[in-house]
Symmetry: C2
Subunit: 277 residues, 2 copies
């Protein structure tokens, strides 16, 4: 369960990113996150537990410094035994960034530790939490742990696990277009249609504000699957490996500037930009 903020409008942003965010040119997503975190007055802590690449911490330290964050630190517990002690590294952060890697490293190493509790509390109190790729999958209460590729849902295609729990409204998938994941997102929703499925393309993020309105930032799209009005899910009776019947989903393809209100389940188009002349 997400921690309850004293004032709901104080919650920090929740920012799932579809992986492979631009780190070279526009860096729109990282810049936007850095601005939210206060730039030179901000402190961003990079949580690297998902990654097995030893260069990940230094890479993100440099990146966040380059987009203007005054104080960048690393929190990098590699085993569960270090997680409680490492929680202190989060102190004073205005933003926390979870790197990519394997979301099951995040859930198995951090689940139930002081870091997980602290992250929920901090986010409820106004600290922004972003995650890319595996880091994005982990943000929600229900996490797609792994699954097979393919456009249509197959029973048993997606394996769910408990995630960090900053929100329980979402089922998040990433590298969406690039790895053909519509089927696994749909099969995850088919178990229990209460959640909203969001499939994030690479270099694309959803900036979810304290009002639970998500704004799309980046060069790709976000596929939103809303199962609230679903008339039928055959998941309970579909044998493993067979396609799953689902009737009455709503689908939106959102791009940079589009918004989606997670509370009222309403999409709004990107504002039309009028150029000179």
């Amino acid at each position: 369960m997400p921690a309850r903020p004293a004032h709901p409008d104080l919650r920090g942003h929740i920012i799932p990113i579809g992986g492979a965010e631009d780190k070279v040119l526009g860096r729109n997503i990282l810049r936007r996150f850095a601005e939210l975190c206060g730039l030179e007055r901000g402190r961003v802590v990079v949580l690297c537990t998902a990654s097995m690449d030893p260069e990940t911490p230094d890479r993100y330290i440099e990146l966040f410094r380059n987009v203007g964050v005054g104080d960048v630190r690393v929190c990098d517990p590699r085993v569960r035994q270090d997680a409680d002690a490492a929680a202190a590294n989060l102190d004073g952060a205005t933003g926390v960034f979870l790197t990519g890697g394997d979301q099951l490293r995040l859930s198995t190493i951090l689940g139930g530790t002081a870091i997980a509790r602290r992250l929920r509390r901090m986010n409820a109190d106004g600290v922004h939490v972003a995650g890319t790729s595996a880091g994005a999958a982990f943000l929600s209460e229900h996490m797609i742990a792994f699954g097979k590729e393919g456009g249509t849902p197959i029973a048993g295609q997606a394996t769910l696990a408990a995630g960090l729990g900053l929100t329980n409204r979402l089922m998040i998938d990433q590298h969406f277009r690039q790895r053909d994941r519509m089927g696994r997102l749909l099969s995850a929703l088919a178990y229990n249609p209460f959640a909203i499925g969001i499939g994030l393309d690479e270099d694309t993020a959803g900036f979810i504000g304290p009002d639970d309105v998500m704004e799309v930032v980046g060069s790709g799209g976000i596929t939103v699957v809303d199962a609230a009005q679903i008339e039928h899910s055959a998941m309970a009776t579909t044998p493993e490996g067979r396609p799953v019947e689902l009737i009455g989903l709503r689908l939106h393809m959102l791009v940079h500037g589009s918004r989606f209100d997670l509370k009222f389940r309403r999409a709004s188009p990107a504002p039309v930009v009028v150029g000179p002349g």
Copy 2:
């Protein structure tokens, strides 16, 4: 425009198949088509123009004989100049089957010829017309000629062409799950949301009756995208290569036994089969 039948309920079935239909074991789709066509009293004409494989005609002759069709013939014009003369081969058919291959061969060789006119007239008068893979794509008024893979729609991703025109209600795509074609189907619909998009997995067919109710037959799924209630399509203003914003689509994942009413745009789940004990 589809030819107008004297009595609307006399129209033959229109049967798009997602390709790679089972030719060895259950052969459910081919059997069902053979039954519709009258089995031993029927005459099925196999139209092979899409295919460049010289074994295609003999293969389908044997297949349809094996599932009980009394009279199986081939119509196989290879160039446009032969198409008008070959139209006589369709005489007396109770069913016509369009093989796979390249749908642009079908439209460039048969479009505007006596064969295309005859097929529309025959279907309107009660002859069943099935097509697999390229043959399925060609059945509708608007045909996806080709396009790139990927789960989310990109401007310019799908190239449309005029098809045979047995129905104008549908935009048909095939090998759907197997070739990751959700994006190209969505981008085809984004141009003009009046049509209903159907994405057929392999070994899966939609049997569309004279009442415009489609029944799903086969081992895969049919993805139905209904854009009738769409609130916004950004296709007019999206530069080529960029993701297309689409808000308010309806999505259904249908399986063997599911039905979709193309007139009223309503999906119904497959009947629950109660086994012994």
